[in-house]
Symmetry: C2
Subunit: 576 residues, 2 copies
Amino acid sequence: MTRIFNEPENFVDDQLAGFADLYADRLRAVPGGVVSRQGGQPQVAVVIGGGSGHYPAFAGLVGPGLATGAVVGNIFTSPSAAQVYSVAKAADQGRGVILSFGNYAGDTMNFGIAAARLRKEGIDTRIVIVTDDIASAQTEQQRRGIAGDFTVFKVMGAAAAAGQGVDDVERVGLAANGATRSLGAAFSGCTMPGADTPLFTVPEGQIGVGLGIHGEPGIRDEALPTAADLAATLADPVLAQAPDEAGTRVGVILNGLGTTKYEELFLLWGLIAARLREAGLEVVDPEVGELVTSLDMGGVSLTLMWLDDELAEYWTADTYTPAYRKQQTPLAGMVRGASGETGVEEAESIPAATAAARQLATIVVQGLQTMAQTLHANEKELGDIDAVAGDGDHGRGMVKGVDAALDAVQHESRRGEPGAAWLLRQAGLAWAEHAGGTSGVLWGAALEAAGGSLTDERDSYAAADYVAAAAAFSGAITDLGGAAVEDKTLVDSLAPFVDTLQAGVDDGTQFGEAFAAAAAVAHQKAADTADLVPKLGRARPLADKSVGTPDAGATSFAMIVGGLAPSTPVGQRHDA
Amino acid sequence: MTRIFNEPENFVDDQLAGFADLYADRLRAVPGGVVSRQGGQPQVAVVIGGGSGHYPAFAGLVGPGLATGAVVGNIFTSPSAAQVYSVAKAADQGRGVILSFGNYAGDTMNFGIAAARLRKEGIDTRIVIVTDDIASAQTEQQRRGIAGDFTVFKVMGAAAAAGQGVDDVERVGLAANGATRSLGAAFSGCTMPGADTPLFTVPEGQIGVGLGIHGEPGIRDEALPTAADLAATLADPVLAQAPDEAGTRVGVILNGLGTTKYEELFLLWGLIAARLREAGLEVVDPEVGELVTSLDMGGVSLTLMWLDDELAEYWTADTYTPAYRKQQTPLAGMVRGASGETGVEEAESIPAATAAARQLATIVVQGLQTMAQTLHANEKELGDIDAVAGDGDHGRGMVKGVDAALDAVQHESRRGEPGAAWLLRQAGLAWAEHAGGTSGVLWGAALEAAGGSLTDERDSYAAADYVAAAAAFSGAITDLGGAAVEDKTLVDSLAPFVDTLQAGVDDGTQFGEAFAAAAAVAHQKAADTADLVPKLGRARPLADKSVGTPDAGATSFAMIVGGLAPSTPVGQRHDA
């Protein structure tokens, strides 16, 4: 949805004014668009354009090595012939003009009328129309232009910057278009400034294959695929439409339509890159990001341009525009190596452990299994609690932590005969590594501390040892986190748990019974945190919003010890 | 909403793998993140990081002149101390390490533990925490880091690249943080990969002022302002919090949070730039775009860094990373001039017109007023019709066209005594200029042709002259658009309209009656286009979807002549 505007009907003019102000040192606003403040040798003027709503196309692509000028129409609407003429006149440097745009009736008409007028004035004017969208028609000349606009513009801009004449710039532009194929998929529609509803919608759980870039729905809807399937959905039809006598090198664009995140595009890129390499292609200077958008539309398109030597030279050439900059010089000093190099260390060998420590190790594994069950079952609830005044990641973080810890101890148990202390240390390292966040660090350090307290060197372990380990666990958390009781943190259920456990064992209560009693106290104390105002942590500025909701960390601790209560060490339970 | 993923829990690892593949020539993947394939002289390592979901922060900012390495945690979750340590070890070049990140408890803890470990190994490690969000706390040290991360990282990266020692890089980093202030506003929440609902929502028609970048809601909700009010909402509190002894130069970021479009940011920039200049500030190298995002959140933040000479030098220095590239060299050749230069031509003088032509001119103005009423009243309906298989812009385009045409003829009538033909020519030029698109060109050319047929030289105008003008109108459209009857275009209602009008006048019917009859035929013929499959125009690939819906251009023509029927020339109406 478009939210920033004054009068919707002035949106295009207003945004162009802001854009021209921002880049006033390198671009000049003229009626109908912008032109580069080009210096140096005169060159063929490459004038691109179309409707607005596609940023960085078209105004963001004006600068050295790319377009000389851009014509800016209303949103999703061809600029007028007068606008095209105005921008082309301002961009002309006496060496001829190329007008280039996607294949739409309005654009073809308006750019055509302007070309006729320019020619009448003696300006050698050529037209290069982009027709890359393989979903839009069987025959190449009838296809729409989508993100392939970019590859064609880029090649012509580089040729013009290299000093080529208008014949050659037109020739390489036509060659670039002939070598370019695109296919896209829409996840969601786009909304015009001031409108309440999108121009089209994609049914929930579906994608529209064969998207347009003007709010046209896809050619057909399909079930929302996994990323791996999406990679195939886009890549395979494009590969099947390789031009005749195509080589094995391709320039590639994986283009985001507007609201699809870069992280999503990178993920998809990894899968598409593998697919292209499997097809025997060498990928040259791939670009992953937003190059030709469609307002706030969700979606992605894949563009391949098969490269010969000339196209490869212009595709990889330097350029510097507001939205697209590529230069070889800064990379020249790089020490390039094989990708995937890492500094992974050799695994430490497992230290010797007593029979008692090895026996206790099986309890640690069982305990972590129980914790994992508890946290998986409560992941959503913990996330919801955390989302009230925090960032909602507590449930996910705890699950990642416990899963990693469980994986680690199972791995260690397979590769040797570890003791409980070693397993708790590995569990702590894995938890902190994979859970991240405050709670991940605290739980990781606490498990390590508990292991350090137990050691793997004793011939037997008794209730007092477990209490000491619990105290070490708690001490690590208060030392590292700096929280006190009533700060609305984990400490609010942890500290009374340890105190109650200690008191029970001191009184001679069986360990299992003391543990259960301590877990019950932790449960109550966690619930009581609902009344507190947090004093630490990232929730600080939103402290008041959290009143009425218990602390997520205190709650997850209480859930964990509640879940563990029936599985305390064998033979120690009161009712056993 | 995040739609591209395989297993949600692998999202971060999967996207990092794709990112590392994409930039394998300049970045090296290591456990926990990425480091630059730095060559040349050793430099202080600037290691930045935090949770994922903020791209280009943090991995997109690694490269010459900016960060040496980035630690990549889970989404919205601090990386672990082990990850920070791993990346810092890989980034270290023997001249010391700076760890820099936003002020969150988890990050502070994990980076702190890693720093302790690095120092224990003899690596001189400093910590620079970013605290720019003025909404998050009163005292600077307690504030969160949001987009101000970027200004602080940029300055330190430039200082390190310039060969400064670790003391100086730390010093300018702390100075940059002390000079940086941010405030943001959220329009909509963000959704974790695999989740169905956003972490928070902003009520419809509201903004959350004081946004966080981890799915934290705003500090307070306000009514959605106009862009002008939003500029004040963001700029004024930031300006009010200028640091002591701040100069008059500011580096500025207008940061998009994820789904706010660049066009919106440019529009807002124009308003904010004016406000900053009014406040007496010189804006240095402003950056408008996505620098620190929050998944698919809608929103914007403004960051100001007040510059002294040293900060200005590092803020404007060259850098080349995946997501942020700035170089002075490509701009060196620019011929810079005053912004706002245009090539606007002098207005032509109005040619002489006969009394009859001047009288007919008043009918032209009235006719355009009626057309404007008709089109405004039907704008939404025409857009909805067009959206079924087209891009939904027909209603808007026609309204823009007729409004511009009406403005033009009213302007001409004020500045002289134009005839009908001159007014129709100006109306046509203005229509084509402002409506854009296919229909804009066609209507513009048609109005010009009608004027050319009438001329301003006759002593009287009769029904046959109007019929000839209508035929000229129609001829321009068929010549330019190349459409025939039954192609499902404007021609389907236009051609029978002209034929019926001609036949009526030939039969001696009063012009008004003949016009009304022709309008009725146009109405019916427009409705009949619902059964047709389009043969031309951008709707081609979606032809089948349009069956059952009439053509938007045929419909708008029928609406217009229907509206005009009661206002044909005075004295010509049958019932007058």
